[in-house]
């Protein structure tokens, strides 16, 4: 360790210097790995957002030359007048989805926050398998490099939607093979991470940290890890099968007599395109909860801390979370109502889908009720957490019509669906992740982020997020398909609402501008932020007992947990918070 470590007998043998590579690049410290994950995730979020901003140009001003970028993109992507070709639009769409989900939100929410915060909250010195943790990050990194590199392939990156439906994805000439190889890296990374998270939570909790004293964030990470562990392998299987279809010309997802470009394709046939959808959505529905549960965990921590009240209904929230995790495995085919799989199947999946909305509502209601009567501190983290609640509410409630098979038929594949799930993951999950960044930044760096710049980040973001996504609902209800490279202007029914595209695009670009205060704040605060002590937010959970920034091995005092996670405003106490584990000296 290069930094002075608080002297404690357990750590004395580790005062030797570590090389730069061991300390920052190939580190086995969960905090360094967490930061690596978070920075990678944030960078890919920005990149994926960039892809979308280019798409939004085409939607707002179809077939007009793309400013600035036109000449850089090559003739495969841009037509003679410098406007976007439809294949390029598809490439951007597919990679935007893939990158945001698998390389943006998951690495940040699970890899970043999970890795950094969970062991600290458990009172553990590190993850159970530090080296596997490091390998997990580097698998993600390789997956990211593969995905990013695929843009430079002769035919460009994958362009078959982030869902990669067969037979299109089986036969497309673009970078789908690279996509599959990238996905195998990302899946491996998530599996290794999930094993590590669960083992750590089972084995390395500090003495006294019983299951019902676990902070809600840890519960969210545990359930998420189980989802990753059990849902990703079927996608891995599907990926292997699709790779076989592309590389070894098998016909797993290719039906008899498939015609491509007017000719019967040279495949033996006999496969099933629906099989891909089943295997894909068996992962991808739990994946939705992988995106949302860590966000709920972060919001719960921030709300309890800043409303200075215990979480309302902590136990019901935990039980809801576990039930949600279980149910998420048996709702997948609600993405497939219009595939003709039959009304019996549709009835089953529509019933389970209605059931799964109950625990989500319980958690959201409990978070709302937690605010009741609190003396709320409106700092930036709290603003983002409060923003999450109604935004996720809109996202969740607009999902209900999609879960009913009759209502789904007209809405399927329209912009309504895009609006719905973006409300869940963009102003929903992303807001929660921003809340997490502002909340735990002092623990990572020892300094607070700037509050003024934080508010300058939050308010415009809230306005423009809605400016981007709400009009999508209106377009969708008018029947505008999500897959039109011109935003629907060539269709009569879109006439009335096609003009909204410009509003959405301008909102998206303004949203990008609204992220500038965050980026400035992030880098500026690392060096110049206000110094934070161990516990700048007067929080109860265990991570705030460690020094900020915490050394390798985390704690400089033995941790013994003596009470629940959210003992705020306890009557008769001299201060308005009672930490879970009082240091032995006080």
């Amino acid at each position: 360790m290069a930094e002075p470590v608080h002297a404690s007998p357990a750590h004395e043998e580790h005062h030797h210097e570590q090389s730069f590579w061991r300390k920052y690049i190939f580190s086995t410290d969960h905090k360094v790995i967490g930061v690596q994950y978070a920075v990678t995730g944030l960078a890919f979020l920005l990149f994926g957002f960039g892809l979308m901003m280019v798409m939004r140009w085409q939607l707002a001003y179809p077939d007009t030359p793309i400013p600035w970028l036109g000449s850089l993109l090559g003739e495969n992507r841009v037509g003679a007048n410098g406007s976007m070709l439809p294949d390029f639009y598809n490439e951007l769409g597919a990679m935007h989805g893939t990158i945001m989900v698998f390389l943006g939100v998951v690495p940040l929410a699970v890899g970043g926050f999970g890795n950094f915060v969970m062991p600290l909250q458990l009172g553990a010195p590190d993850m159970a398998f530090p080296r596997i943790n490091m390998i997990s990050y580097w698998c993600l990194f390789m997956g990211g490099v593969t995905m990013f590199g695929s843009f430079f392939l002769p035919n460009g990156a994958a362009g078959n939607g982030w869902t990669s439906y067969s037979p299109l994805a089986d036969t497309a000439l673009n970078g789908q093979t690279a996509w599959l190889i990238g996905m195998i890296f990302l899946i491996t990374s998530s599996l290794l991470g999930a094993i590590n998270f669960i083992t750590t939570a089972i084995q390395l909790r500090a003495p006294g940290m019983t299951w019902m004293r676990l902070p809600f964030f840890c519960w969210a990470q545990i359930v998420t890890a189980f989802l990753l562990l059990l849902a990703f392998p079927p996608l891995e299987a599907a990926g292997v099968l699709q790779l076989m279809d592309r590389v070894a010309s098998t016909s797993f997802f290719i039906p008899e007599g498939l015609v491509i470009g007017g000719e019967v394709a040279e495949f033996s046939g006999g496969g099933s395109p629906l099989l891909w959808q089943h295997l894909f959505w068996f992962l991808a529905h739990p994946e939705v909860y992988v995106l949302i549960l860590p966000a709920m965990g972060i919001v719960a921590e921030v709300i309890a801390n800043n409303s200075r009240k215990p979480l309302w209904g902590y136990r019901s929230m935990v039980y809801s979370l576990i039930f949600l995790g279980f149910m998420s495995f048996i709702v997948w085919a609600h993405h497939m109502f219009i595939t003709g799989m039959g009304s019996v199947m549709s009835t089953f999946f529509q019933t389970t889908t209605m059931i799964i909305s109950i625990p989500s509502v319980i958690i959201l209601s409990a978070l709302f009720i937690s605010l009741w009567g609190g003396s709320i501190r409106f700092n930036t983290a709290m603003l983002f957490a409060l923003g999450f609640l109604p935004m996720f509410g809109i996202g969740g409630l607009t999902g209900l019509p999609l879960g009913l098979s009759a209502a789904d038929i007209p809405l399927h594949d329209t912009y309504y669906v895009i609006g719905h799930f973006h409300y869940v993951v963009a102003p929903g999950t992303l807001f929660a992740l921003f809340a997490g960044v502002y909340y735990w930044f002092p623990k990572v760096t020892g300094r607070k982020m700037n509050e003024f710049l934080g508010k300058l980040h939050f308010w415009p973001s809230l306005v423009f997020m809605n400016g981007v996504f709400f009009p999508m609902m209106i377009q969708g209800l008018n029947g505008v398909s999500r897959r039109l490279a011109d935003g629907g202007i060539t269709y009569d029914f879109a006439g009335e609402v096609a003009g909204l595209n410009r509003m959405m695009s301008v909102s998206a670009w303004c949203l990008a501008v609204a992220q500038i205060p965050f980026i400035i704040n992030f880098f500026m605060s690392i060096r110049n932020g206000k110094k934070a002590g161990r516990n700048p937010w007067n929080s109860t959970t265990v991570e705030w007992l460690a020094p900020s920034p915490a050394p390798h091995g985390n704690f400089d005092q033995p941790i013994e947990v003596v009470r629940g996670p959210y003992e705020y405003s306890v009557p008769g106490s001299d201060k308005d918070y009672v930490p879970q584990a009082e240091p032995a000296s006080t």
């Binding site: 010195p125 084995q203 033996s268 006999g270 099989l275």
Partner: protein
């Protein structure tokens, strides 16, 4: 820095970290092969009655597969013997049985290689039909697992066995965990054999 419960068991769970880790890994493996078996069922049900015909045409070699089954079961036995030898503190016997396990894996792969090349010689490729496609994919993925298990066992029997002199319990645990994986690979074959060759 020492991670607690790497070697000694946690007083409440009665398990060390590695044991929990390997079982979690095996659950994910069950989901992986489960999805592939589900694919097998979907393809078979969707084959319009052509499945039996495709299977007949493929002419898989049942005697060779039977030998392979026996070889793998034998390797599971040697795997347990290797672990038991470590429990008794017999390093020499551990190495003997450890290498025997790796050797059995090798024999399995050689036989598999002859099976594959015989298919290729008759123009039976993964692209020929869906039966051969799923056959090559699942047995191929299983063979990759055999190679992984062999590498794991070879490491602990070879260079990794130095740990015997410094932390015998840890080595014993590690061999137990690689044994669990090896038994799982064996078990997958126990399903693959009847499903592809006998049904």
């Amino acid at each position: 820095m020492e991670i607690p419960y790497t070697v000694e068991a946690h007083p409440e769970t009665g398990l060390n970290n590695g044991k929990i880790g390997i079982w979690l890994f095996l659950t994910s493996e069950v989901m992986l092969f489960g999805a592939l078996f589900a694919t097998f069922i979907m393809l078979r049900l969707g084959s319009d009655g052509q499945w039996a015909h495709m299977q007949e045409e493929a002419e898989l070699n049942i005697p060779l597969a039977t030998i392979n089954t026996i070889v793998l079961i034998a390797s599971s036995l040697t795997m347990v013997m290797a672990w038991a030898s470590l429990m008794r503190g017999q390093l020499g016997r551990f190495k003997l049985f450890g290498w025997a396990t790796v050797g059995c894996g090798g024999i399995f792969l050689v036989i598999k290689y002859f099976e594959y090349t015989a298919k290729f010689a008759h123009d039976h490729f993964p692209s020929s039909n869906t039966y051969l496609a799923i056959y090559f994919t699942m047995t191929g993925l299983h063979a990759l697992h055999v190679i992984g298990g062999m590498a794991w066992n070879a490491y602990f029997t070879g260079p990794g066995s130095k740990l015997f002199h410094t932390n015998r319990q840890w080595l014993t645990d590690r061999v137990e965990h690689s044994g669990l994986f090896w038994h799982f690979v064996d078990l997958v074959w126990i399903f693959l054999f009847p499903v592809f060759y006998l049904l």
